[in-house]
Symmetry: C2
């Protein structure tokens, strides 16, 4: 039985700095990510791929807004579903092509994934996650009145909607993902952190206007599947302490306990590295062995201990402390 790794691909990894984010650019970047994952497969790994959708779901909201009255509106849960189709298609195409070029004729499946959240999650009364287009103050005030949106001002660029980011409780497709993996199929799932839904006592499933942090949800999926290895692919090569300060230094290897200590020191930004570290700690505390946080380019080197940040349960030779 092969080892299985969950690779959480950052939403920005398909749209790089300086790019306009055209589909052509995203497809080219998807192939680059796919080549790294193919190397993992060549090394004997089975993989589950999850991905973010920040720029893409933002674009979906802009499209829905700007065509209001000409095309029906899509609420946030539906927008997340569309990006699971869109990004899943690009990653699947890239993976199928790169795997076959490398001589691996294994199927890749992309499946829609819903994540249950608690309707009483405090996030619903304190929305924090900025999404979608920027508005002028006048338009922002109209939107807040008309739709009950919460909006925040971004100093330079105008007003922006903020939505709740509730805790993921349960991956509804967990058992199906497990069964499909057992068939030897590479699975792409949990796009954008999953479509956020609440479940009623009458079995009704209702989508909610929220976005789920994809690293938190990925940690739950990786633990639920009983995987050993969780890889968070992001836009920095490793985790840094005193980030962007003269005393900045990279973390090569650390225990979950040590990372929690750094977290409490507010070493990691709330909207970016913080949730990744929390997800890593959660995975290790739930029995997972290894978390690697690195850039897509260094993914293979990280797993071989030559790059990135490696978070484990117990200290080891070469451990920070």
């Amino acid at each position: 039985m092969s080892r299985t790794a969950l690779i959480a691909v950052g939403g920005n990894s398909l749209i790089r700095v300086g790019e306009r984010g055209t589909v052509e650019e995203q497809l080219r970047n998807a192939h680059q990510t796919a080549r790294k994952i193919t190397q993992l497969v060549a090394d004997g790994w089975r993989v589950v791929v999850t991905h973010g959708n920040g720029p893409q779901v933002g674009a979906a909201l802009v499209r829905s807004e700007r065509s209001s009255g000409e095309a029906y509106s899509q609420q946030l849960d539906v927008c997340v579903a569309t990006t699971q189709g869109e990004i899943g298609y690009m990653l699947k195409r890239g993976l199928e092509c790169e795997l076959q070029r490398a001589g691996f004729y294994m199927p890749v499946m992309c499946m829609l994934t819903q994540v249950r959240v608690n309707p009483d999650d405090p996030a619903f009364t304190h929305p924090t996650k900025p999404i979608g287009p920027f508005y002028t103050q006048r338009v922002a005030e109209e939107k807040m009145r008309a739709f009950g949106w919460t909006m925040v001002e971004d100093a330079a660029r105008g007003f922006r909607r903020v939505v709740p980011s509730p805790e993921p409780i349960e991956i509804l497709e967990l058992e199906v993902i497990r069964q499909v993996l057992d068939l030897g199929i590479i699975v792409i799932a949990l796009g954008g952190g999953g479509i956020p839904v609440v479940i009623g006592e009458d079995h009704s499933v209702t989508g909610v206007e929220a976005v789920i942090d994809k690293d938190r949800a990925s940690a739950i999926l990786a633990s639920g599947l009983g995987l050993d290895c969780f890889v968070i692919s992001t836009d920095v090569d490793q985790v840094y302490l005193n980030y962007k300060q003269p005393t900045q230094r990279g973390v090569k290897r650390a225990t979950a306990d040590l990372m929690e200590h750094y977290l409490k020191e507010n070493q990691f930004s709330a909207g970016s590295m913080g949730p990744k570290i929390e997800a890593a700690i959660r995975f290790v505390r739930n029995g997972g062995h290894d978390v690697f946080i690195t850039s897509c380019d260094q993914l293979i080197e990280a797993i071989h201990g030559k790059a990135g940040t490696h978070i484990t349960a117990r200290p080891d030779h070469g451990q920070e402390e």
Copy 2:
């Protein structure tokens, strides 16, 4: 081993006549379709659900067009992928809810599906399928010059883009769908007829600007899976001869040979019932037993021989001829 049926749900079945097509309306209609499919499951059937995407992919193109410059553009293959996410989510939610309400705790999976087409298909030089928004003559001429689009004039409503509708050759996910069905999972696949792709000799997969007829593609999927039963759910209760003429009469039951005879008499419109009849004939000629063409409301009655049109290989008691 249960019998397995492929149910091809019409793209218009989620947006009914007189509706604006809001997500709320589509979800309500998805539940109605789901209740019928749940009855089939209660009767002991396993099901594969495919669906059209006409109104939804049209809306996706409008959104992409109208937000040009503010959000990146999505080509037609990507738009189809987004509708697989969107409609798949609505059908899956409806099905999961209705199945559980009826006491069936079986999983429902929605998977992205690509369909291979031939880049030399004559459809690419003779696009016929009208999609997306209507334009004035001036804007239409600009679009034709700028993007090389083919456009046709619709007498009353302006100019509209027409795209190729090539023959589906191969469902790329056929074996994966078979394996998932064998696990007892209800599969939603082949949305919008599948994402149209061409495959290069170097294993490259390239999306193409085309739409695949969902009934033709569904016939290939049903045959490829070796299913006995293929149900086409549409907006009429059965197939009619001399449709909308004083001599109109319904076809209750007929052989594929007889339907081919009617087809050659031009009894069925090219853009609507024609491809359904062709798909039905193809399925039966490839070894399928039963095709039912009916409305969603009459789906159960049709399978029990009490409504709809039943197309078979061989004549039977009660057969037309």
